[in-house]
Symmetry: C2
DNA sequence: CTGAAAGCGCTAACAG
DNA sequence: CTGTTAGCGCTTTCAG
């Protein structure tokens, strides 16, 4: 429990000035091989770990990137984080994660906390933020990337997909296969703007063909797979004539699929199904659920790349808008007539 | 893109000394209501965000807790992180996550990076680390909690379950149900010590009854659910007489279960199954897979609590050892004779 | 209740 | 190639 070591200790142990020790440890500037060795050996044998707090204060440079996501239990966000990690891996930048639980006030708090570490950039999920959060992002003076969603007005850079468009495309695909009586199931999350936009896109796309969603239901908490079963059963009991079920995520969709197969219902002949996200899990189900890839990994990578580019001291910092196109995957549950 | 604001700016704007501004902003010491108001208003209208880098350097206190886990794609770790988050939420401490990809050298690098921020504590998965990492943990002079696994010699505190014991107990349960010809499937991860220990425990438990594992197989990459299907099929083709399959995680177990049901095989009559982790997903499968709860949330919570307690300046810091008991869940796949 | 002085551990900038 | 000087923005400590 001794006082942590400082540069001064290494300097004393190696007989080299603090400044030169600092140079060696950072690989900065020219140092003779002999002194370099002396320093390295002293540092190692002492077990010296530099103090970045002091270093960052002195150099006015912080190698941190704040990454703010709504949740970790969704599987979507861990994948985004993985993409970010991959890109930042080989750079001096280091991601720092914060979780908001889909709560704007918590987002505000987390953002404030993170900005107080003066990071080199911010990656934050969504483009809907509280007024205060928007102000902080605008005034931070560092590159900001809003991710996941491109429907709206970004603060700075944005990387994502259009969830409205995703809903529209799904509507088009559903109609094209001849389904007409549509049910919708999703999470009870007034603050999940992306799910909302998909729903709106779907509604709009169906409306163009004069079709309305006949049934809808929302859940919260519990095992998504089990909820998918229960809700599907309940919905079909309420309205047995539905011929398509659209789920706001793949997990409840998978639950619904398992339920329908249990019941011996013909999927996709009698009832078609689709989820959203393209989770890897779907491969391995008795039948592959139709879905749409949310491009999670790519989003993380692209966002990190932007931060990396723009945090260069001489960078241009022109706000980027990267709109990825989610691919629709028909699986086995969205094609009424088999292709011959 | 203006220079970030400093205390000095708030001081100037409010006509109060920097020191008093600092007191107000940290709620430290007595300040008259009138000056407090002046300061708060100035800070807010300027949009001032304190610089924790400078603050931490001056106060020699960093409100960060380093959290180091092998992976985010496992679903196990996000849950642990959630537990940590919950506890730290209402404290001044803030978790910072790092990912090692099960690579000791990467763990070493991540740990070094994190320690260079002089955090108030470290929570790190596993008790097997490189020599250098162990040295860093020992010499850091801050509370350390190793989590998930209690089989071995911890550096400081440890919170987890005994995976060896988990394997043993599963062996006991399997034997008690009369299964005798056991197959094992897991990930090809020489560095996943916890999976290895469960396997060893299982082997040992079976050996006591003179039984050996007849078949084993390991996979890497890809969708775990699909892998579970494939491997199960392959294993049963190799050895159709197996009557029990133990999976090192629930996802491949679920894949196996779905495969067997597809084939119309009697589960658990002809073949029994069990996985590991107790993932929520299992509720909702056509039949509930037997599993063992890994106590992920509790582990995260307990670890965070220890850091919280021991980072108090006057804390005693007696190393804790918290061994949680994973509950076995029989589900529908581990009971040969139905209980009447 | 408020302020002034000193310094946290490191690095930019400049001299040799 | 190496060392010296002067802070980075804040908080601790000590005076009022």
């Amino acid at each position: 429990m001794h006082r942590p070591l400082t540069l001064r200790d290494v300097s004393a142990a190696s007989g080299v000035s603090e400044m030169t020790v600092s140079r060696v440890l950072r690989n900065r500037g020219d140092v003779s091989d002999s002194t370099r060795e002396k320093v390295l050996e002293a540092a190692k044998s002492l077990g010296y770990v530099p103090n970045q707090i002091a270093g960052s204060l002195a150099s006015q440079q912080v190698n941190l990137v704040a990454v703010i996501v709504p949740s970790l239990s969704n599987m979507v966000f861990p994948e985004v984080l993985t993409g970010i990690n991959q890109v930042l891996e080989e750079s001096p930048l280091q991601p720092v994660f914060g979780v908001t639980d889909y709560l704007p006030e918590k987002e505000e708090r987390v953002l404030y906390e993170m900005l107080s570490w003066r990071p080199s950039g911010v990656i934050i999920a969504g483009i809907e933020h509280s007024e205060a959060a928007n102000a902080m992002l605008t005034n931070a003076g560092i590159p900001v990337v809003e991710i996941m969603d491109t429907d709206g007005r970004p603060v700075d850079n944005v990387v994502g997909i259009s969830h409205r468009q995703a809903g529209l495309e799904m509507a088009r695909a559903i109609l094209k296969q001849g389904y007409q009586r549509i049910g919708f199931m999703g999470t009870k999350m007034p603050l999940d703007h992306r799910a909302r936009k998909r729903f709106e896109g779907l509604t709009e796309g169906l409306a163009k063909a004069g079709i309305e969603i006949e049934e809808r239901d929302f859940y919260s908490g519990g095992s998504a797979l089990a909820k998918g079963r229960e809700m599907t059963q309940a919905m079909l009991e309420r309205n047995p004539d539905l011929d398509f079920l659209y789920y706001s995520n793949d997990m409840i969709g998978a639950g619904g699929l398992l339920y329908l197969l249990d019941q011996g219902i013909d999927v996709p002949g009698q009832i078609g199904l689709a989820g959203f996200n393209g989770v890897e899990l779907l491969q391995g189900l008795p039948r592959e659920l139709a879905t749409m890839d949310a491009c999670r990994l790519e989003i993380g990578q692209a966002a990190a790349k932007i931060i990396l580019d723009q945090s260069q001291p001489d960078a241009e910092r022109i706000p980027q808008k990267v709109v990825l196109a989610p691919k629709i995957s028909y699986g086995d549950t969205l094609r009424r007539k088999r292709v011959v």
